[in-house]
Structures are given as structure tokens and as C-alpha cells.
Amino acid sequence: MKLVTAIIKPFKLEEVKIALENLGIQGLTVSEVSGFGRQRGHTEVYRGAEYTVDLVPKVKVEVLVGSVDAFKVVDAVVEAARTGKIGDGKVWVTDVDSVVRVRTGERDADAV
């Protein structure tokens, strides 16, 4: 099993969700984060002075993947989240030892 973690632009969340559902993904966890990559934040003006705000709001999506190919998931997310502009985000995959569904106690592939 794998855990796919994606950092995306907040307004792309809806499209990413739909792309994942089309792949048959049954669950996901979302959180609010902020970050910067090569885009190095943006600038804001306040009271006539200009500031860089280097941490830009992003959304983190985490998806546990069992039977489905993790790379298909990555590709689907990347496609749905892309705008082609800087700040589009990152997706990465890590290995998961085991998963348990709390309600049923099912384990691993069944639990995803």
C-alpha cells in the first residue's frame, strides 16, 4: 500500500476530488497548509508598503491507495491540479506498512 500526498492550489480541490472519484478512490483526507516552492510566495501591498508573503495557502490531499496503482493516482492528481502557472504544487508517494479501518478493524488492502 502507498500513501499519495499532494500539495495543490486550494481552488483545484474540487477537480482533484472528481478525478480521484473517477479512479474509484473511496476516501481521502484534506488539510490546509501553506508553503512555497520555486515561486517564492507573492507580494502584497499594505498601507502603501509592499511585502513578500512567502507562504502561500495550499491544500494538502492525502490518499491511501491499496489495489489501485499509485502512479495512476499520481497522474490523475497532477492532471487535475495543473494550471501551468507557478505554484501548482507537488505530489509524492510514500510506502505504508499497514492500514486499519477503525470502524471494522479490517486491515491493509481491505481497509483502504
Partner: protein, 474 residues
């Protein structure tokens, strides 16, 4: 507005009644706070990303209308009648009787004395003209502000500002003249509208409906919940509205007397009953009474009692409030049935509530002042006055509705055609606060850090950053 408050072009000076003046000064301040109250009522109901834009759509009405009112608005609304009751104009009302070096350049007539009063007569004697002008200004401010809720989340800020300036000029000032001033509805038709059911609520509600059609739906309407981001603000706004509305309704008497007391009473009781009515409908329909419902119910009651407040008994007010609260609770569902995106239910509350109150005078009407003078037609159907008053009320309501709808539709269409009215889809998705105002409403987070680049007038933003900017920042 009590019919006795008529401003002659050249009012006869009289002694100031300090008590009446104190009440109208206080009332003007009370009505002033209604516009920020409305701003919070509305802003709490939109999503967090548009919270400031909603506040600004209301706040800018203060700024724009205040300036226009001083220059020509008061004269057009309360000056001597012109064109058979369609507009007012009195030279010495322009610039609020400005004793300015400019006045001679502009050719304005004689400067009126500051201490000058409303004409004596009736219950309204002894209030200086400027006090009355300020009280009425607050009505002119809140009326366009009411419209903003219907078209939340999708309008360019400066486009809206221009709309407000045009709209008050060719819709509000004339209609106020008809209903409150020297115009035809008050003086020829002799309809009853104590504090602005037609001029304020039907007027704003009809304009809201027109703009909803002109501007179209928001991205994601019907799909996304678009729930209130800050419900306590909704209730804060409703509370400030209720508070300020005492100036609006009881101040419309123009004096601190028994009729003001009656207006205060019916305003209170109708609002209480409407709140209960709305909550009961919610309980029966949705299974839960909500906070947004309580706030909306209170506003619906305030709207409906506005035209009627001094023309019905306390229990008549109770009935009007109850009916309006229940009716408006049902009416806010109409937009889903008919598919128009009236974002914050301005049509459902102000148009429906305003019509309800204006027309119910035809049933519950019982004008103590007029009755003392033996004017039988001022009794509604339930008090043996027959259908006469009802007819008059319907004509007044529909006249304002149609005029406001048509003219607003034209103004809105023109501004949209010019490309300065509706924001882009990307702006809607990102949020109007960031794109239109370069701000975000809240920064509770401790993880937002950054640094000063330069002070205004310094180096431009590095090119590579500007792309991210247009999407997310500034």
C-alpha cells in the same frame, strides 16, 4: 413619513423644539448605524473569501450617497415639486443651502439660515431643515446598500460604485420625492407609507431582482453550499439593524410624541412576531430553527412594519409581523424554484416583506392622525374602510416596483455591456477580497510570514512573481 412633514421651498422660520430636534438627531444617528449593520448582516452570510467585498459594497454607499445628497440629492428629493410631482428642486437646497463662495458661481438662490425650521403645523414643528436633511440622507444611503446582498460575490467594486451613483440619482431621489417629499404618491395618490415600505424596501427589492437577472448566477450556485462564514456577524448585523430601525420608523414621525411611541411599539412587536414566525416555519419545514433564520425573521418583520408602523394598532403590528415572517421564510426558497441567484435573499425579504407591509395597510390600516380629522378612507378593510385604501396601496407598491425594476435593468445592462460590472470567473473562484481589494478578512494563523519589499513608489514587483499574484495574491 407622516404626511404632515412637507418641506416648502421657502420654509417659514419657527422656534426650534429642542425635544423633537433631539429625537431626530438621535434618529439620524440610529439610521446611520443601520448601514454598517446591514454590511455585517450580509458579510457574515457570504463565504470568507468575499467577506470584505460585501462590507465594502455597503460602506461605499455611505461615501457616495452622502456626497451626492449634499450636492443635489436633497434638493431633488425634497425641493419644490416639478414636472407634475415627478421630481423636486429648490435652488436653496442645492449644496444643503451652501453659503459658499461657489454658490454665486453656480447661481443658487438665497442662502437659508442654519437655524431655520420645518414649517410649523401638525406634530412636526420645530426641527431644523438640516437635521431633517441628515435624517433623510440615511434612508438614501441604505436603500442602494440593501440591493448589494442580492448580487454578492460577483460584482466589480468600482462598477458597483458607479451603479450606486447613477441609481440613487435616477431611481432613489425621484422615488423619495414621490413618497416622502413633494411628489405624486404622497400628495396626489395619498397612499400611506410611514417610513419607506415603497421608497426603500420595494424599491431596493425590485432593483435587486433586476440586477440578479442582468448579472446571472455565481459559479457553483446550486452545487456549492455557499454557507455563511460567520453567523455571529449575521446576528450582530441584524441587531444593529433592529436598533437603528427605531430611528428609521419612530423617527419618521419627525417628532417625539405619541405617534412616535406607536411606531416604536408596532416596530417592536412586529419584529418579535416575525422572528417567531420564521423560526416556526423552519422547524416545520427543515426540522431545526436556525440563527440565520432568527436574524432573517427579525429583518423581515422590520421591513414589513416599516410602511405601516404608525397606521396600525400594536396587535395589528403583531399580525403583520407574523404574516411577514412566515411568508418571507417561504419566499427565500423561490430562487431555487425559479432559478435566479438572489444570493442573500433581498427579493425574498425586502421585496416580499415590503409588499406585504404596504398592502396589509389596506387591511389593518387605522390612521389615528387622519381619523382625528375624520378621513374615512384611511381605515383599512378590517376597520370598515372598504377597499379604497387597499387599492391605493397596491397602486403605490406596483408603481415603485415597476419603475425601479425597469430603470435598474437598463442601468445594469449598460454597465455590464461596458465590462465594468461582473468579475471574471477566476476572480470568483479566488475570492473578491484578494482580487478586488488585495486583502483577506482574517489572519488568525501564526504561519503567515514574509518580508517588506519596498515602500510605494519604489521598484516594481519582479516579473516572475506576478503570475502567482494574479492567481492568489494582491
Amino acid at each position: 413619513m407622516h404626511p404632515a412633514i412637507l418641506l416648502a421651498a421657502d420654509p417659514v422660520p419657527a422656534a426650534v423644539d429642542t425635544g423633537n430636534t433631539a429625537w431626530i438627531l438621535a434618529s439620524a444617528a440610529l439610521v446611520l448605524i443601520m448601514t454598517p449593520g446591514l454590511a455585517f448582516f450580509y458579510s457574515g452570510m457570504v463565504r470568507a473569501k468575499n467577506a470584505l467585498n460585501m462590507l465594502m459594497m455597503n460602506f461605499i454607499c455611505l461615501a457616495v450617497v452622502g456626497v451626492l445628497w449634499a450636492i443635489y440629492g436633497f434638493s431633488w428629493s425634497f425641493g419644490a415639486t416639478r414636472w407634475s410631482g415627478l421630481i423636486g428642486s429648490s435652488a436653496n437646497f442645492y449644496g444643503l443651502g451652501n453659503p459658499d463662495v461657489l454658490s454665486s458661481v453656480w447661481g443658487f438662490g438665497p442662502i437659508y439660515k442654519i437655524g431655520e425650521n420645518l414649517p410649523t403645523g401638525g406634530l412636526t414643528a420645530g426641527v431644523p431643515v438640516l437635521v431633517f436633511a441628515m435624517f433623510q440622507l440615511m434612508f438614501a444611503i441604505i436603500t442602494p446598500a440593501l440591493i448589494s446582498g442580492a448580487i454578492a460575490d460577483r460584482v466589480k467594486f468600482w462598477g458597483w460604485t458607479i451603479f450606486v451613483a447613477i441609481w440613487v440619482t435616477i431611481v432613489y431621489f425621484p422615488v423619495a420625492n414621490w413618497v416622502f417629499g413633494t411628489g405624486w404618491i404622497l400628495n396626489k395618490l395619498k397612499a400611506e407609507d410611514f417610513a419607506g415600505g415603497t421608497a426603500v424596501h420595494i424599491n431596493a427589492g425590485a432593483a435587486a431582482l433586476a440586477l440578479v437577472f442582468v448579472l446571472g448566477k455565481r459559479v457553483g450556485w446550486r452545487r456549492d453550499p455557499m454557507k455563511p462564514h460567520n453567523v455571529p456577524f449575521v446576528l450582530l448585523g441584524a441587531s444593529l439593524l433592529w436598533f437603528g430601525w427605531y430611528g428609521f420608523n419612530a423617527g419618521s414621525e419627525g417628532a417625539a410624541d405619541g405617534i412616535a411611541g406607536l411606531a416604536f411599539t408596532t416596530t417592536t412587536i412586529a419584529t418579535c412576531a416575525a422572528t417567531l414566525g420564521w423560526l416556526v416555519v423552519e422547524q416545520l419545514r427543515d426540522g431545526k430553527p436556525t440563527t440565520v433564520g432568527a436574524a432573517s425573521g427579525a429583518v423581515a418583520g422590520l421591513v414589513a412594519i416599516t410602511p405601516a408602523c404608525a397606521f396600525v394598532s400594536p396587535l395589528g403590528g403583531l399580525a403583520i409581523g407574523l404574516i411577514a415572517g412566515m411568508l418571507c421564510a417561504l419566499a427565500v426558497g423561490l430562487k431555487f424554484r425559479f432559478g435566479f441567484d438572489d444570493a442573500l435573499d433581498v427579493v425574498g425579504v425586502h421585496l416580499v416583506g415590503g409588499l406585504t407591509g404596504t398592502i396589509l395597510i389596506g387591511f389593518f390600516g387605522f390612521d389615528h392622525g387622519a381619523l382625528a380629522g375624520g378621513v374615512e378612507s384611511k381605515r383599512g378593510l378590517f376597520y370598515g374602510g372598504g377597499l379604497k385604501l387597499l387599492e391605493v396601496q397596491v397602486v403605490a407598491a406596483l408603481s415603485v416596483l415597476v419603475y425601479s425594476f425597469v430603470i435598474t435593468f437598463v442601468i445594469g445592462t449598460a454597465l455590464k455591456a461596458l465590462g465594468i460590472f461582473r468579475v471574471s470567473e477566476e476572480t470568483e473562484l479566488t475570492g473578491l477580497d484578494e482580487i478586488e481589494h488585495a486583502e483577506s478578512a482574517y489572519s488568525f494563523s501564526s504561519t503567515l510570514t514574509g518580508g517588506l519589499t519596498h515602500v510605494s513608489g519604489g521598484a516594481p514587483v519582479p516579473a516572475e512573481r506576478t503570475e502567482e499574484l494574479s492567481g492568489k495574491g494582491v
